[in-house]
């Protein structure tokens, strides 16, 4: 991966996902609903990465209160770009 892949936005109810490679993978969750959903979002991201067998990738999410369906969609969109890049 040449440069980080970004999907989504910083609009209300959306989130900005940054997918990138590092030596040690990290997941950073920065959310406006920190108390209520920080841990939940962290697990959601881990689950999706695991499902695609991409746990070596790092993810940063800047969340503006996106619901699960939107977080998953943004992350999967980034993953698909990553996979297209890797295969092409």
């Amino acid at each position: 991966m040449d440069k980080p892949i970004m999907t989504g936005s910083l609009e209300s109810s959306d989130c900005l996902i940054t997918l990138y490679e590092t030596d040690t993978p990290i997941i950073e969750v920065d959310t406006i609903v920190h108390d209520a959903f920080h841990d939940h979002i962290l697990h959601l991201i881990k689950d999706v990465l695991k499902h695609y067998d991409l746990e070596h990738l790092s993810v940063r999410i800047q969340d503006k209160g996106a619901l699960d369906y939107a977080i998953k969609a943004r992350l999967k969109a980034a993953i698909e770009i990553y996979e297209d890049d890797s295969n092409g």
């Binding site: 999907t7 109810s13 939107a70 998953k72």
Partner: protein
Amino acid sequence: MARSYLFIPANEPRMLQNAYVFDADAIILDLEDSVAIEEKHEARHLAKSFLKDYPKDTARTYVRINTQADWLERDLACLQDLDFEGIVLPKMTLKMWETYEKTALKQGFHKPVIGIVETPEAFFELDAIASIEQIEGLILGAEDLVSGMEAKRTLEGHEILYARSMVRMACAKHHILAIDTPWTNLEEAHLQKDITHAITLGFEGKCAIHPNQVPVINEAFAPSKATIDFALRVMKKYEETSSMRFSLDGQMVDKPVLQRAEDTLKKARFYGLLKEDRS
């Protein structure tokens, strides 16, 4: 059956989250004109995830797809195996249908389709388009049509009267839904006037491009309270007399009037306007 068809840009979570809030009878998730080219990929994922995971509501849900062959293919691919009502296919012509059908067949995609007729070409094959089996309705797309004609869209609507009438007639002939064009100016009084033209011609519903248009459309296309009350009384008297001809308020009631009353009540029931059906 639906009075209002509300367009929701598929790449905007803020809009998607509230898609079912505005009492539209149908929503159309839009992958086409309201999504920028560089956002198509993300919009597909968002639409897919929304249809899969977001709790369903009573409104009918459609997806408007892109017509460019490779995009159309990707759009349909991402919509596989999802629970929604049907596809809205823009720029509908027989040639467009051929492209669509080929892709749909290849992917084993079977959903009803509402076509948007919005090019001059479409109006010379309207009968054939309306006769296609998967087509469950037609939307008149006046904005594009008018620019194709190099005409000017006006509040009076003379420029689209011919097209509007043709759409209505083709739909009536083939018993499919006749859905009126969106009105793009947000002035409520103007929308109301545009709706009146469509209702006069017999359209059953209309597209909304902004949530604030929905209540206006819903009210206009629903049978009025007076109409419902009259229909209820007609049916009551019909049951009492069990005759197809009788007088009510000094007016003769015969078969066409009875038929209309029945249709009115069917509509009213469907739109939840009959209270005894609510409990």
